[in-house]
Structures are given as C-alpha cells and as structure tokens.
C-alpha cells in the first residue's frame, strides 16, 4: 500500500526545498513546521492503511528494528 520505491519528481530539488523551509527557524519552530507538514501530507495521502504503514516504517527505522513485520501487521 505505501509506496517506498522512488517516486519523487526531483529528489534534489525537494530536499533543498525541505531544508530551505526550515531556514532561520529555532528548533521549536522547526518541530512545529514538521508537525504541520506531517498533517498536510497525511491529508493529501488520505488512505489510513498507507498512513499506518508509513508510521510503522518510520517508527521501526527510528528504533533500529526490522520494519517488515510491523508494516505487514499495520
């Protein structure tokens, strides 16, 4: 359900824009921006299974645990 294959129109342009969006922000402001970004993108994706899978992949990658099982059960 969640597409983790490469899908961006322009990887380097996106990454630059992401960093640029945080320019001159305090850590607290960056966190606030990221939270808004998550909500905007989640609304764009819409699909609950896809979002659950993304949450599971992100969490397991953060914790350094294998993602396969978590993603499947989500």
């Amino acid at each position: 359900m969640l597409n983790t294959e490469f899908n961006l129109e322009s990887a380097d342009d996106f990454y630059e824009a992401l960093i640029e969006a945080h320019r001159d922000l305090s850590a607290a402001q960056s966190h606030a921006l990221n939270a808004r970004l998550v909500l905007l993108l989640a609304n764009h994706v819409g699909s609950l299974p896809a979002l659950r899978e993304a949450l599971a992949v992100a969490r397991s990658n953060t914790l350094g645990t294998p993602s396969g099982a978590a993603a499947n059960s989500a």
């Binding site: 606030a32 998550v38 905007l40």
Partner: protein, 548 residues
C-alpha cells in the same frame, strides 16, 4: 411574549419522604420481579420503561433527594426520543435550551463554527441543555403517575446474594434492616456502585491525571450576541493560558463554565468562591458580555476516568449507566449512554420477566451495551487526549492542528473538543438479520431508526412517534394481508393514512414500493427487505428476540 404561568418546582430542594413499607415487617422476604437500585436518570428511565411495559418494578435509593447541582447538562437527540417514549420528552424540550451550533477558539481568536444538525426533518434537536435536577425531577413526576412503579427513598442496599432462583437483598432504612428477594436486580447506582462493590466486581480503565473546575453562574444579561445559545470552547485562551475552557448555556439564565486546571491544582482551594469568581470574571471580560453581573450557583472540582466493567451482566444482576462504565465529560456521553443502556435493557427484561423471550436475550443487553461503552470510551479518550495533551509531542501536534485549522478546512476535522454523543450503530451480528437486498444510506441493521416528518390522519406527525411500543414493521406502499400481525405493529407509509408528504422518509430509508424495515422496541433497525415474505419477517423477529 406570553408570560409563563407555571413556576418551576425547586427540584434541588425537593425532599422525598421515607415511608415504612409492608415488606419491612413481612415474616418472609417479599419477592419483586425487578428491583432497580438508584433513582438517578438511568434508574428512573429504566423503571418507567419497565412499568409502561406492564412490569411491576421497585426502585431503591439510598438518598431522599434528586441531583444537587446541574451535573450532566447535555441531553442528546436520541435521549430526548427515549424521553418522548417515556412520556416526558416534551417537558424536557420545553424547559431545556436547544442548541446545535458550537464555536471553537484558539488563543485569542475564533477558529471555526460547527452545526450538529445533520439535515432537516427530525422532531428533536441535536441537543438540549438542561440541569440534571430538572431531568430527574420530570422523570420522578412521570414515575409517580405509574401505579406499578414504587420508589423507596432512604433504602440502601447493604447485602446481596444470588441463588439459582433469585437475588436476596438486605436493605438498610431509618427503621433498620429488612430483606427482599428479586427476580432481577439492575444496578443504576452510579460510578461508586454499592451493588458492584458488594459483588466484589470492579470497573477498570484509565484515570486521567487532570482536574477540572465546573461552575454554574447566573447572569443578569445575555452573554452571547443576540442571546445566542451556542457551545463555546477555547483552547489555550489568554484568560486561562495553557488550558481549555468550555462555556455552555442552561435554562434560567444559568451558564456552565468548565476550566481545565491541571493535575497540580488544589481541589479544596479551587472550589472556594473567592478563587472561582476571578476566573469567571476573566472569561467574561474576554467574551462579548464584558463585565456582566453574575452570581455563583454551584461549583465542583472533578477528575475523571474512562473505565468499564468487563461484563454488564452477572446472572440475575445487570449493570447500567455509570456503575457499568465511565467516560470523560467531553462529548456528553455519560448520562446519555446510561439512558440508552436503560432503553436497551427495558424491553428485553420485560420480555424475559413475562416469559415471552428466553433468558439469553439479556446476554444481548450486555453484548450490545459493552460494544456501545467501548465506542463511547474510545471517543471520549480521544477527545481528552486532544484537549489535554499529556506529552510534549502530543501538545506539538495538537497545536499544529489548531494552527492549521483557521486557514485549512481539512484540519478542522482533526480538532477534537468532544465528539458529541450519537447513538451507537450495533454490530451486524447478534439480534440483527443481515441484508439480502441492496440499500443506500446509513440505516442498516443495527442502526437507529431515522426520524422523518409525516402527515397522519390527525395532521403532521413524526415517524418515530408512530412506531409501536414493541416491534414495528415499517412498510412503504401497500402492505399484503399477512403484514398485519399480533407479533408486531405494522406502520404503513402510503398515499392515504400516513403520508410521506416531503419525501424525507422515502429518501432516508432508500425505500421503493414494498420496502419494509423491522424496528425493535428501542428503535434499532434489525432487518430490512425490498420484498419481504412472512417467513422472513418471522425469522428476523425470532432472531431479534433471542429465540434462535
């Protein structure tokens, strides 16, 4: 404007006399089919419903007064429809203030408004606000009209033992202890249920580490522009930073204010008028009313937990309302779900007591209302987590949602200041017959029957009002001869008799000529067909009565 000629009774001051009962000097314990413990909204609603169904019912209450303080104030459309069936809905709605519009504020400015009225064509409003003492008072007055309903005040259940054949109760009174036997006991005795404790049972769940102050104030002038009746909710307002505040109107120019205080607040200090008044003044100064005069009517500092008993039925003892489950107040799911428990149980218990249905029907009460309790707990837990975020990151996302909501409509759907009580749609299994025909809309088996305006022989009426006290076969178009039966009431919607002049019923039920819905006594839909036959309807009725 017509002056009101009726002065409301002061239900808070009303005292009910303890009267010695003949049971207290009986040589052997007297037997009662049904004993209801607790004369709050849930116990009274249940007792009235049972009595209307011809069951003799005894209510025991350890006190001799109604609710002190306004307590539960929001009564939902479904609850009002139940009160209609119990014969006191009109009084509630006449006295209560109807509302459907809410406004949500973040910091110092409005975020958005919402309207809970889904669509026109319902007799009852989405909500009324009415002090709990009025609700209990109107129910108590209705109960007093029923000769097979007896309330014994200052009768405290002190002992309970189940045998195979009955329940033995020991009851303390001002004249000492006496014994009773009951076919069934229903514990409607609140969150600290004595019956639950006597049986060694528990209600378990999550306690929220937060305190709230509720205060009722009486004002001399309108608070909101144009005398509007709206629910106002603030996240993190300047007059009460980092916390939430709720403002709600009640009858008699009384307003409920609800301040989140945080876990560290001192409940004794916070309850003192000298500490409450400045908080209210600060709120009013930020409202359109500015420096309006007010008096403090009642205040309470509370904490809450979302919890429930594992099973609502233990043999001949059943639990309903707060004794069985507890929720946070956000969403008005406490008293409303309790009254809905009572309605689910009343017809089933009546059928079982009258030997018209098997005992297993009572298991469906537990199954269905445990399901509904889970839904209510889930909704109120989610609201609480949004309103009072308990971690830094939870707070971050909460504020991000609120930050986006002013400009972006999608984010408003994530704002959760309470998902207000609606009746649960019961699961497809159990008493329902699965669909065999295709239908559009939400009125599937398990859902609550929808209301609609109709024209009857005597003038305008409402669909829910036309339903029978027991099972109803709602038929669209000309019904065949077999549709008339002693086992149900047939309500036909056709060109003559009862007409769907506005087309709302036809649309809401996705009806074509020959469509029929089987509706339970508690107005849940349990089966529907495009072209039913008598065997199919009888089978669905047997399923809904727990006979198969």
């Amino acid at each position: 404007m017509a002056a009101s000629s009726v002065v409301d009774r002061d239900f808070q001051a009303l005292e009910f006399a303890y009267r010695r009962s003949r049971d207290q000097q009986a040589s052997a314990p007297a037997f009662h089919d049904v004993v209801v413990v607790g004369a709050g909204p849930v116990g009274l609603a249940l007792a009235i419903d049972l009595a209307q169904r011809g069951v003799r019912v005894l209510v025991l209450d350890d006190d001799h007064r109604l609710s002190s303080g306004s307590r539960a104030i929001c009564f939902a459309k479904r609850t009002l429809e139940i009160f209609d069936r119990l014969g006191c809905g009109e009084r509630m709605v006449d006295k209560g203030v109807s509302w459907s519009v809410g406004k949500v504020f973040f910091k110092d400015s409005p975020l958005y408004r919402f309207d809970l009225t889904p669509d026109p064509g319902h007799c009852r409003p989405a909500f009324i606000n009415l002090q709990q003492y009025y609700v209990e008072g109107f129910l108590a007055e209705r109960a007093a009209e029923l000769e097979n309903l007896e309330i014994r005040w200052k009768n405290r259940v002190a002992g309970l033992r189940q045998t195979a054949a009955d329940v033995e109760l020991e009851v303390d009174t001002p004249d000492g202890r006496y014994r009773l036997r009951a076919g069934h006991v229903v514990a409607c005795d609140g969150s600290r249920s004595a019956v639950r404790t006597l049986m060694g049972l528990e209600s378990k769940g999550r306690v929220f580490q937060d305190r709230f102050l509720i205060a009722d104030i009486r004002t001399s002038a309108e608070l909101l522009p144009g005398g509007a009746t709206e629910r106002w909710f603030w996240f993190d307002p300047p007059f009460h930073p980092n916390q939430s505040v709720l403002l709600h109107r009640q009858p008699d120019n009384v307003w409920r204010v609800d301040f989140q205080l945080g876990w560290d607040a001192d409940p004794v200090e916070e309850k003192k008028p000298e500490n409450i008044v400045p908080r209210v003044r600060a709120l009013l100064a930020a409202s359109p009313a500015k420096d309006v005069d007010f008096t403090l009517e009642w205040a309470s500092v509370y904490t809450f937990a979302c919890m429930r008993m594992e099973r609502f039925r233990h043999g001949r003892v059943l639990f309903a309302g707060d004794s069985a489950h507890g929720v946070s107040p956000f969403g008005a799911r406490g008293a409303n779900s309790g009254v809905q428990d009572a309605e689910n149980l009343a017809w089933k218990l009546a059928l079982v007591v009258q030997s018209a249905a098997p005992d297993a029907l009572l298991d469906s009460y537990a199954d269905e209302r445990e399901f509904a309790a889970d839904e209510n707990i889930r909704c109120s837990t989610r609201s609480t987590d949004f309103i009072t975020p308990k971690s830094e990151i939870s707070r971050l996302f909460r504020d991000a949602v609120l930050g986006l909501a002013r400009e972006h409509a999608f984010a408003r759907r994530l704002v959760n200041s309470g998902r207000l009580s609606i009746a649960a749609t019961l699961p497809a299994a159990g008493l329902n017959t699965p669909d065999v025909d295709a239908f559009a809309g939400d009125l599937r088996p398990g859902a609550m029957a929808g209301d609609a305006p109709l024209i009857g022989p005597a003038g305008p009426t409402w669909l829910l009002r036309e339903l029978g006290p027991d099972f109803t076969l709602l038929w669209f178009g000309e019904a065949p001869g077999w549709a008339e039966s002693k086992a149900w009431r047939t309500v036909g919607i056709r060109r003559e008799g009862l007409r769907d002049a506005e087309g709302v019923a036809t649309q809401r039920y996705d009806a074509t000529p020959g469509t029929a819905y089987l509706i339970r006594p508690d107005h849940h839909i349990c089966a529907r067909w495009r072209a039913p036959d008598v065997e199919g309807v009888r089978a669905a009725l047997d399923t809904a009565m727990g006979r198969r």
